[in-house]
């Protein structure tokens, strides 16, 4: 059987002011009809560029500088704009990542489908409408007939992605390129969409090129996989073989870095060989600064005993003597009670009770909209609660509006945010960012001492001391997240809230950050509230787990118990729907 799509030695170059950059380097891959071919790699590996090159949508100045792309024997690289335009949609379709933006919000679903169908086929309005309805039904939308005249905003995220898939199918293409089709979706919806893609491939004999960074997705549905690194193919072959018995070091390391749902690892293997010198310049250091100095500073001074690392042996299920205790917390947005109107608003959290002991890591799990982040914001005082109480360190913790600026908890509770690109002020040097908490909480006087501390804490989070002279935008996402962790440490906190600290990062970087957090936790007995939608990550970090759904606590249990035998139906469903990594074999 000949391949549907044959890509040979494809090279894509992007001329830039720093010289020519090769985004994709001599890539070859084949996709058969009815096959799902996965392309996996970390950010910057050139996955999306491959997709754009095949569909002829490379953005100038990127161009194909060598190689050939053949669709059923027809050479695509030689096509002119006009011919390519006719081919797109007709023979190759594309599904994008974000269903929010890939549909026109001002047109009904019917308009968009009918327009696309008639663009490629000369048929009447009624026929086209009929076809559109059938397609919607095929992609699993119930009441397709009535829903045809709805606007995109009337569909949920998963439903919208189904519409996008219907849109891609409506010209009966031979090949569909799906660029991160499920990244913006919750796990339960992701499972359904992946199932749909599988069915379509089998029934319609469409070839799929599935581009993703998520190894779970690859393991779940692809037949064959190509692993990319820096634009080059590292390994390619049947998915089971590549993921099960990886031959190349990079693939093996990548597999090892993926958090597993079935076991808890003490540490991840570090797969990134980073050049500690940021830019070829000689080693620059502050006198006497070292990680040990930072450790001493973090441990000393504070009279409260910090060696509560043994949270494991103790029973922590009961809220007595907890460091943080939250009782019957209610938060609602948009509620107001004025002269003329009374509105109850949207309830983000209702009747949430939880507690954390010193030295414990509590994982908060839930899908988007479950109120995880709101919970974090209430604790740090960014959002006010409408009912319920909080206690910290034995004393009542006033909520947002009523917490004085000088409240002690403002230092003791620190937060690490999700997006390392917006959580650091780009206009200030790393030194200024890290010195700020020191001076603000009066932990050190301005002078050589603060410099030494900043350099030491940077060393502690495994960053070169030189980093303090630079600006945040000069660092990668993972390095920025380290700086964010360092900033939280500068306050000498007792309690760290991590709100999805790794979801914006690649798996290998995620592994590093998780290692760092684990080390900090065990060395300094930090108490951590770890929020994530990724169950596997929570499994690696948490001692206990709390599951949130629509603002309510569904389950609260010891981590081991939760992952081995979840009690609530919702928890079971969540665990079932997380892509399984069975193919990967035992962790090494």
């Amino acid at each position: 059987m000949t391949a549907l799509l044959e890509v040979q030695d494809l090279t894509v170059s992007i001329p830039s002011r720093f010289g020519e950059f090769t985004a994709v380097d001599q890539l070859s891959l084949n996709v058969l009809a009815g096959e799902i071919h996965g392309v996996v790699g970390e950010s910057g590996a050139g996955k999306s560029t491959v997709g754009s090159a095949i569909i002829g949508l490379l953005e100038s100045p990127a161009h194909i500088s060598a190689g050939s792309i053949r669709l059923q024997g027809d050479e695509l690289t030689a096509l002119g704009d006009e011919d390519y335009h006719r081919l797109r949609g007709n023979r190759i379709s594309m599904i994008f990542q974000d269903p929010q933006t890939s549909l026109n919000p001002l047109l009904t679903i019917a308009d968009q489908l009918v327009e696309t169908i008639q663009q490629h086929r000369r048929i009447g309005d009624r026929e086209a409408r009929q076809l559109a309805m059938e397609l919607l039904a095929e992609t699993g939308i119930e009441n397709a007939e009535q829903r045809l005249d709805d606007y995109p905003h009337q569909f949920s995220g998963g439903m919208r992605q189904r519409v996008v898939i219907a849109l891609a199918l409506c010209t009966n293409p031979e090949l569909i390129i799906a660029d991160e089709p499920t990244t913006a979706l919750d796990v339960s919806v992701q499972k359904q969409i992946l199932g749909l893609i599988r069915n379509l491939a089998e029934q319609r004999k469409v070839g799929f090129l599935l581009i993703t960074h998520d190894i779970g997705v690859i393991a779940e549905i692809t037949d064959r996989v190509t692993v990319l690194q820096h634009g080059k193919v590292v390994e390619t072959g049947p998915t089971a073989a590549v993921l099960g018995t990886p031959q190349e070091t990079y693939t093996r390391a990548l597999m090892a870095a993926v958090p597993r749902l079935d076991t808890r690892l003490e540490r991840f293997r570090n797969i990134v060989t980073e050049d500690k010198r940021i830019d070829g310049e000689s080693r620059w250091a502050v006198d006497g600064a070292s990680a040990a100095y930072a450790s001493n500073w973090l441990l000393g001074g504070d009279k409260v005993a910090r060696h509560h690392t043994a949270a494991v042996g103790r029973s922590t299920e009961r809220p007595d003597n907890a460091l943080l205790r939250v009782d019957n917390l209610d938060v609602s947005f948009g509620a107001h009670n004025r002269w003329f109107s009374k509105k109850s608003g949207f309830k983000a959290l209702s009747d949430v009770s939880l507690h954390l002991h010193r030295g414990e890591v509590l994982g908060i799990v839930g899908e988007s909209g479950s109120g995880k982040s709101t919970l974090a914001k209430v604790v740090v005082g960014l959002v006010s609660s409408s009912d319920g109480t909080m206690q910290f360190n034995g004393a009542t913790l006033p909520d947002g509006r009523h917490r004085p600026r000088s409240h002690l908890a403002r230092r003791q509770i620190q937060m690490v945010f999700q997006d390392p690109y917006s959580s650091l002020n780009n206009r200030r040097t790393v030194e200024a960012i890290l010195t700020e908490p020191l001076l603000f909480y009066k932990l050190a006087a301005k002078g050589p001492d603060t410099r030494k501390l900043v350099a030491s804490v940077l060393e502690l989070v495994e960053m070169p001391q030189r980093a303090m002279l630079k600006y945040p935008h000069q660092f990668s996402g993972g390095q920025r997240q380290r700086i964010a962790v360092a900033r939280a440490l500068m306050a000498r906190p007792d309690f760290l809230i991590c709100d999805e600290p790794t979801s914006a990062l690649d798996v290998s970087i995620q592994a590093q950050i998780l290692n760092l957090l684990k080390d900090l936790q065990s060395n300094f007995g930090l108490t951590i509230l770890f929020i994530s939608h990724n169950l596997a990550v929570v499994r690696q970090m948490a001692d206990r787990v709390v599951v949130l759904r629509r603002g309510e606590v569904v389950e609260s249990a010891r981590s081991e118990d939760f992952f081995n035998a979840p009690q609530a139906d919702y928890s079971q469903q969540l665990l079932r729907e997380t892509p399984s990594l069975d193919l990967l074999g035992s962790p090494g």
């Binding site: 960014l382 600026r405 409240h407 959580s423 206009r427 603000f440 306050a491």
Partner: protein
């Protein structure tokens, strides 16, 4: 050293774009020459038009030196009082630029502080201030400036008004232009204040004023810079317009506006140069500042590229 400079020229985005934009370079060159000429007017101008002894009524209305009846002493001719037009333009540009820069600084400081506060605090203060801005925006800038200038004339005695002319003009023009700054600053602040780095300082319990000045302000300077350059042209124009209408600079002091006003009286009697050269100066100045402003806007806003 040279290698280092070359590397910097590649890495610094603004500089790189500037070095690859001929039109912006040309505009910058012209603007620098004109500003230089205005600043150094005392040294480069052949005569001092403010000095009554330096000109003679007998020399009045002489055409440019290259045309028939021209005088080599007066390169582009003289005005109705016999002043050297070139010197008058150099001094006039200096005055126009001074008033323009002062008033735009005033508008910028006022507008940014109002916009930043409104954007950060939101709520009632925001609603109140921005409604004032909306009302002001519905009046043409020139009308606002005329109004303020008129009030100042009414309050201040004639003598001190002439002395305080620059201050009055600055306030009048500044108050008619602050709205742009306020709106831009407010919109950018809205975006920045929801970013996590601001939240991080709020969690710390930092004082709002410090958050605004230390954290947010440096991050919204980009769009402000753009408005600053674009509105500088507007401020210079406003000054010229006010002077042209006779409510700006006193007529005995040359500014581009007063020169054009004098010129229009002689336009139909054939003395074209009195109106043509100051107008040309004004046009070239405004265009080059505007081109620079557009360049900055494109360079600082990647979405437009």
């Amino acid at each position: 050293m040279i290698a280092r400079m070359r590397r910097y020229a590649i890495e610094n985005e603004l500089l790189y774009l500037f070095l690859h934009n001929r039109i912006a370079q040309l505009a910058a060159l012209i603007a620098i020459i004109m500003i230089g000429g205005a600043v150094l007017a005392g040294f480069v101008a052949p005569t001092d038009p403010n000095d009554l002894a330096s000109y003679d009524l007998l020399d009045s209305l002489l055409p440019p030196s290259w045309s028939e009846g021209g005088d080599a002493r007066f390169f582009i001719g003289t005005d109705d009082q016999g002043r050297d037009l070139l010197s008058a333009i150099l001094y006039g540009t200096r005055l126009s630029l001074t008033v323009g820069l002062l008033s735009i600084s005033f508008a910028c400081i006022l507008g940014v502080s109002v916009g930043l506060t409104a954007g950060y605090l939101g709520g009632r203060f925001d609603a109140f201030v921005m409604r004032i801005a909306d009302v002001q925006l519905s009046l043409p800038a020139i009308l606002t400036a005329l109004l303020i200038d008129g009030i100042a004339r009414g309050i201040l005695p004639q003598q001190s008004h002439d002395d305080l002319m620059i201050v009055v003009l600055t306030v009048a023009i500044g108050l008619s232009l602050w709205v742009n700054f306020a709106r831009t600053a407010r919109a950018s602040t809205f975006v920045e204040k929801n970013k996590e780095y601001v939240q991080a300082t709020e969690i710390m319990g930092m004082h709002p004023v410090r958050i605004m000045l230390v954290q947010i302000l440096p991050n919204i300077l980009g769009p402000i810079m753009v408005i600053l350059t674009v509105d500088l042209a507007v401020a210079i124009l406003l000054e010229a317009t006010l002077s042209f209408l006779g409510v700006g600079v006193p007529p005995n002091q040359p500014s581009l506006g007063t020169l054009i006003r004098i010129g229009t009286e002689y336009l139909f009697s054939g003395e074209w140069w009195i109106v043509a050269f100051p107008s040309l100066t004004l046009i070239v100045l405004i265009v080059s500042v505007n081109v620079l402003g557009d360049f900055l806007r494109d360079a600082l806003n990647p979405k437009l590229r």
